[in-house]
Symmetry: C2
Subunit: 392 residues, 2 copies
């Protein structure tokens, strides 16, 4: 039988990263490859109490079908406390299966085959995976150490008037760890309005700031509904629950809700109640502080080790939050080659290639510091430096 | 700002049913409208024990990211015990967020705009909602009391050689409650092979048989990978967990897994483990027997009340399982008019209109008997009969 797939599905291919990551399943390997939260920080004891409370107090309704929009209490709490400097009514929030689902729905709602969308260069590869299914054309905007270069963004919008949206991760971007300054955020909203283009503000890491003040979201400068905000509990609570959210204007959120209805009816009823009850019984801010404390130290250890062991002309940004450091090696080096050597010495990372929508650059790598202990981080960077040194 | 949606999204509209169902939120209303499992049958006490066991025994991993394919134990159990007369290795099973997600992924994988797909007339409206996003053309196959008429199916395949797949609910179909006999199942697979067309066997109700022997699945007659089977725990356990599955041949399941990866990475890790642990600690067959016992009685009560109160020429099939009875009124009656009158007397159902892909018939209604008590079923059918009587 010949498999007659839809055209969009013919482009589906196994993620190169997934294949690479298989190599990192090796026991004893020091992995800077994933983006996994540290499991030792998951509040298991609290979750045990939370679940007991729920089954005692709520009974049957937590196992029944529920609202497509999501748990009302959860949406209220998100609108009031998790969008930081903006308050949003629950009506503008839809609960999704992680922010990955928010990305997929965004593609579904806005991208026709061949439509242009703008993204950072490089950008989050999970977003590319989600959008690719809808067959867009990517327009990449150059970045400096502070994220998207606004002049290049405007240039690209001028020469591509039909762009559907700008996709950006303004806080501790994946993969680069870069953060967009406040003036650029304001400017981005102005430009979006001028060119009548939506902004997708994907913000999984914003709450993980290890020093300084959190910047206001791009959404907070938007009074005309141009910004669609994607949030998640994966990095500040537990990814296994698969709970994220979309926040958008009335007219747009209504469309997302219809997409959710057709895609999977609603998110796990119990998981949503677990989050609500956790936030009522315990202090999630305190929990996030604990996470930040641990990750801050790990980041410091990684930065110190990079400083100590790496060749002097290896470049990286001293990121103020999030989970990643982005290493730039000299242009002649292909980090896939480095990867193969590194895995032999039991250390792994993600070669930067997969984070480019179009114009692949080969001399970058992404390092994650959230899931390894301080000792392993030190040892891993030392080993990795030894490999890299051989190419310098 | 003008909202520039993708073409597929311009057709999204609020489900008429959802709007109707809002009317049924009235307190004291007897609703035959939903398809809700009876919540009093949810195993709350067992789930409390299950969750305690999990948090004690497994710890952190149940809150972490996990495999896109789904929990290995869960997939093994499903392959060995939940496909009844076929045994399937776990490699051919992908865990989905309910079978609704299986329907969405099927559309995503196979339907290009304008592609023809075959469905029953009438068919499940949630499948239409899922497929509509991908803009297919529907080819409706006529049914008799035993499901799809195979001669009409072959006729339609002959005149539409480019059909992508046949979508069918062979057991206690939604909305009609009809079940496809074994010889038609065999014949359907033969025809699918002959015309090289896939079959999507959607089977949420097959385990809810109240008398007689369960029929072998269509999949059990398939030795060439023509049948894609969609299953779910929503009707035999709890819908709130959002756990379903897709079972397909190696080459096809691989594609579904990639779609899952891009859509939402994986299903709730904890919920999957909850199901596994429930099935290890308790007897799910016994649990299903309890459900069947209650629904069987409710179905009997509804059939008796229909027999007693309805005008003699109102037609329906005495369904042997599932959740629904499909009422055919005389052709001049529009059940939407009946609906408005019925709601005034505090009784609701779903007018049949929404279950037709193309050629809407107006004189049908779907009655659900799983979620109301026996007394309310009796009273509700009595009231509904009084309304209908006025049009006879």
């Amino acid at each position: 039988m010949e498999l007659k797939l839809a055209k969009r599905a013919q482009k589906l291919k196994a993620s190169e990263i997934r294949e690479l990551l298989k190599l990192t399943q090796k026991k004893g390997l020091i992995s800077f490859a994933g983006g996994l939260p540290a499991p030792e920080l998951f509040p298991i004891d609290e979750m045990k109490k939370v679940t007991e409370e729920i089954f005692t107090k709520y009974g049957k309704e937590v196992l029944q079908y529920s609202l497509t929009e999501g748990n009302e209490d959860l949406r209220t709490i998100i609108g009031e406390t998790r969008m930081k400097n903006v308050k949003v009514p629950k009506e503008n929030i839809l609960i999704t299966s992680g922010s990955q689902q928010g990305l997929d729905f965004t593609g579904k709602l806005f991208i026709d085959k061949g439509d242009k969308i703008i993204c950072e260069k490089p950008t989050y590869l999970g977003a590319l995976t989600a959008f690719n299914v809808y067959e867009p054309e990517y327009v990449e905007v150059e970045m400096d150490d502070y994220g998207m270069i606004i002049e290049d963004l405007e240039e690209k919008l001028k020469s591509n008037p039909e762009v559907k949206f700008i996709y950006t991760i303004p806080d501790f971007q994946n993969p680069t760890g870069r953060t967009l300054p406040v003036d650029r955020r304001k400017k981005m909203v102005e430009i979006a309005k001028k060119y009548e283009v939506l902004i997708i503000e994907d913000n999984p890491y914003g709450e993980l700031r290890y020093e300084g003040e959190r910047y206001p979201s791009i959404k907070s400068f938007d009074d005309d509904g141009y910004v669609i905000y994607l949030g998640t509990f994966s990095k500040i609570f537990c990814p296994g629950l698969r709970i994220g959210w979309i926040c958008a204007s009335d007219i747009i959120i209504e469309k997302y809700i219809m997409v959710k209805q057709s895609a999977d009816l609603h998110c796990n009823t119990l998981a949503q109640q677990e989050l609500v009850t956790f936030m009522k019984m315990f202090d999630i801010e305190e929990h996030i502080d604990q996470i930040k404390e641990v990750y801050r130290k790990r980041r410091n250890v990684m930065l110190e080790a990079l400083e100590k062991y790496m060749p002097k002309d290896v470049k990286y940004v001293k990121t103020e939050g999030g989970l990643f450091i982005w290493l730039e090696l000299k242009e002649t080096i292909d980090t896939k080659v480095i990867f193969e050597e590194a895995v032999k010495r039991d250390v792994a990372f993600v070669p930067g290639h997969s984070f480019y929508a179009k114009d692949v650059r080969k001399n970058y790598m992404r390092l994650n510091y959230s899931s390894m202990s301080e000792d392993l981080i030190k040892e891993g960077i030392k080993r990795l430096s030894e490999v890299i040194m051989e190419y310098y």
